[in-house]
Structure formats: structure tokens, C-alpha cells
């Protein structure tokens, strides 16, 4: 596979990770997932509903997506650890997207609880992919505990505001020894492209696709967006300049006959 996305030894062709929340129906979700080309998708752990028809796991299996359980909704290390263990039992995976929320308006993580949970889960053998804020120090602490990636937010979950502080993201990427996955805040394709150009290894998004007016088309957009950003990063962009730099040389410009020129001007 050319330029695979590798995380904890597993290889993926796609660098897009999809969250499955926010879709109008499982059918709409399935079409969006398929269009997006994602091979990894998060699921929440919730009390089962005996009356529900259809299963998110069946959808993921049909579209060839590995389920990545998360700890969405947990506000303490304790709850997050319990949720991760339930997920391991239920889904027979030791991968977990770790979320420990600190505030229900911003849904930003609680740094201290997050670190605590990460340590416990790493010790317990989990492959931990923590959702974190864009703090370079916290990102390094999480890496030190043995997390398999760090997943900084670009802006609040579901805010669609893209990457509010690309400088922090750039610093995190420069300092990281594990893959950096942009998680949260993506609103549209160019946000995802930019994340990849800044050096992220992958992008995780949900609402941008599931809540778009046409989720399937937006899924397709995101597949191209992530690919575009990855290729651009690898291709080596031109530098930014304040002034212009001609792309057409001026050698060999046609010269109007002087007489005519003087007369006309």
C-alpha cells in the first residue's frame, strides 16, 4: 500500500476517521460512510434499546469500517475507564477513543482527568487514542503515558469552526512522536485539507458530514479533501511571499513597432 496510515501497527488506506453521531438515519450514515471511504469509525457505548431496528455495527461491517469505541459523555477518569472496559467486552477491541469532557458548553477535555484515564487505560493494555485540546504540553504528557496517537481539537466539537489555532497544531505536530489526528471542529472540506497540510496523519470528523445538507456528497468531499491535503504536504508547497513572482517569463515578449506604439499611446 502506498503511503498507508499506520496506527499502533494497523494499516489503513484512508486517512479519514468518521464519527457516526448526528446522522438522520442508519441508511443516510451508511451512504455517507461509503462515499467517504473511511475504514475506521467511532461508536458510542450506550444502554441497548431492545426496540431499535438495525445496528451500527452491521452498517460498519457492510462498508468495511472498523469500529472504534469512544467514551463520549464521560466527565471523569473513572467513568471513562469503565466505559472503555465495557467497550472492550462488547466489541472485542482494545482500541478506544478516549474522551473525558470538562464542560458541556465547550465539550473541551478536562486535562487532569484525561491524563489520569489515559494512564489507567494504557496500563490496562488499551490502545488509547485521546481526544485532547490543542495544548502542546498536554499532548506530550499523553504521548509519555503511552498513548498510540494524540487527537487535538481544531475547535469545539460540532462547532464547524475549523482550526482556530493552526500554530498550536503545528507545534504539536513538530513535537509529536506518535501520529497526530485532528479531532473535532472540522466544518468543511478545506478545514480537513488544511489539517493534513499542517502535518496531521489523519482527520476525525462527524457532524461536518452527518449534519451536512447532503451527507453523502459531503462524505465524498471529505475523502478528496484529506487526500488533497496529504498529497500537498508530501509534495512540498511553494513558500509564501508578500509580493508577486511571475510565472510567465518576460523574455521574448513581442515588441510592437515603435512608430505605432508612440502614436497610439
Amino acid at each position: 500500500m502506498d503511503d498507508p496510515f499506520v496506527i499502533a501497527g494497523a494499516e489503513f488506506r484512508s486517512r479519514l476517521v468518521l464519527g457516526t453521531g448526528g446522522a438522520a438515519s442508519l441508511q443516510a450514515l451508511e451512504r455517507a460512510l461509503e462515499a467517504s471511504g473511511a475504514e475506521l469509525a467511532t461508536v458510542a457505548m450506550r444502554r441497548i434499546d431492545p426496540s431499535a431496528t438495525g445496528s451500527i455495527l452491521d452498517v460498519l461491517e457492510r462498508v468495511g469500517c472498523r469500529p472504534l469505541p469512544n467514551t463520549a459523555g464521560c466527565y471523569t477518569a473513572r467513568d471513562a475507564v469503565l466505559t472503555a472496559r465495557l467497550a472492550r467486552e462488547a466489541l472485542e477491541t482494545d482500541w478506544v477513543k478516549l474522551e473525558v469532557i470538562g464542560d458541556d458548553r465547550t465539550l473541551f477535555p478536562d486535562a487532569a482527568e484525561l491524563l489520569d484515564a489515559a494512564e489507567q487505560l494504557v496500563d490496562d493494555g488499551f490502545t488509547v487514542l485521546p481526544y485532547t485540546n490543542d495544548d502542546p504540553v498536554l499532548a506530550r504528557r499523553l504521548e509519555s503515558t503511552g498513548c498510540a496517537a494524540v487527537m487535538p481539537l481544531g475547535s469545539p466539537i460540532g462547532s464547524g469552526s475549523g482550526i482556530r489555532n493552526p500554530y498550536n497544531l503545528r507545534i504539536i505536530v513538530e513535537q509529536a512522536g506518535v501520529p497526530v489526528i485532528l479531532d473535532a471542529g472540522i466544518g468543511t472540506a478545506s478545514d480537513a485539507t488544511l489539517a493534513m497540510e499542517l502535518g496531521c496523519e489523519a482527520v476525525l470528523l462527524a457532524s461536518a458530514v452527518t449534519r451536512a445538507q447532503d451527507p453523502e456528497m459531503m462524505g465524498r468531499a471529505m475523502r478528496h479533501a484529506v487526500e488533497a491535503g496529504r498529497l500537498a504536504r508530501r509534495a512540498g508547497r511553494i513558500p509564501r511571499r508578500l509580493y508577486a513572482e511571475a510565472s510567465s517569463g518576460s523574455d521574448g515578449l513581442a515588441e510592437p513597432a515603435p512608430a505605432a506604439s508612440e502614436a497610439d499611446r
Partner: protein, 68 residues
């Protein structure tokens, strides 16, 4: 007897095991997809067949849902 399943009271047979409860909720207890905690302690799937429930116990039956 009555146990509390996912926050709601539920009548089950007096000798019901966790496996029975899970089957009763429409899931095949031999397949992955669901986890169970009793009073906050996870019970591994391998033990469901042999773990009886007691009246009044709080049982959480958890599965994957759209989210995140």
C-alpha cells in the same frame, strides 16, 4: 423477581442468568456487541451463562450506538 436493567425495573425469572437477560433483550448472548456490568462491575461474556441475578440488582447492558 425484579432487577433494575438500564435504569428501569424489569421482571425476570427467579433463576435467570445474565445470558437469559441478554437473550430476553433481543441479543444473542454468544455473539459480541454487548457488555454487561452489575453494580458497576463488568461481567465477562464467558461468565454470563453461569452468573445468576439477584433481586434488586442494578444491571447495565451496554452496546455500540451512533456517536462521536
Amino acid at each position: 423477581m425484579i432487577v433494575v436493567v438500564n435504569g428501569a425495573q424489569r421482571e425476570i425469572a427467579d433463576d435467570a442468568t445474565i445470558a437469559d437477560l441478554v437473550a430476553d433483550l433481543g441479543r444473542d448472548p454468544r455473539l459480541p456487541g454487548v457488555a454487561v456490568a452489575v453494580h458497576g462491575e463488568i461481567v465477562p461474556r464467558g461468565e454470563w451463562q453461569v452468573t445468576p441475578l439477584d433481586a434488586g440488582q442494578r444491571v447495565e447492558v451496554i452496546g455500540a450506538a451512533q456517536g462521536g
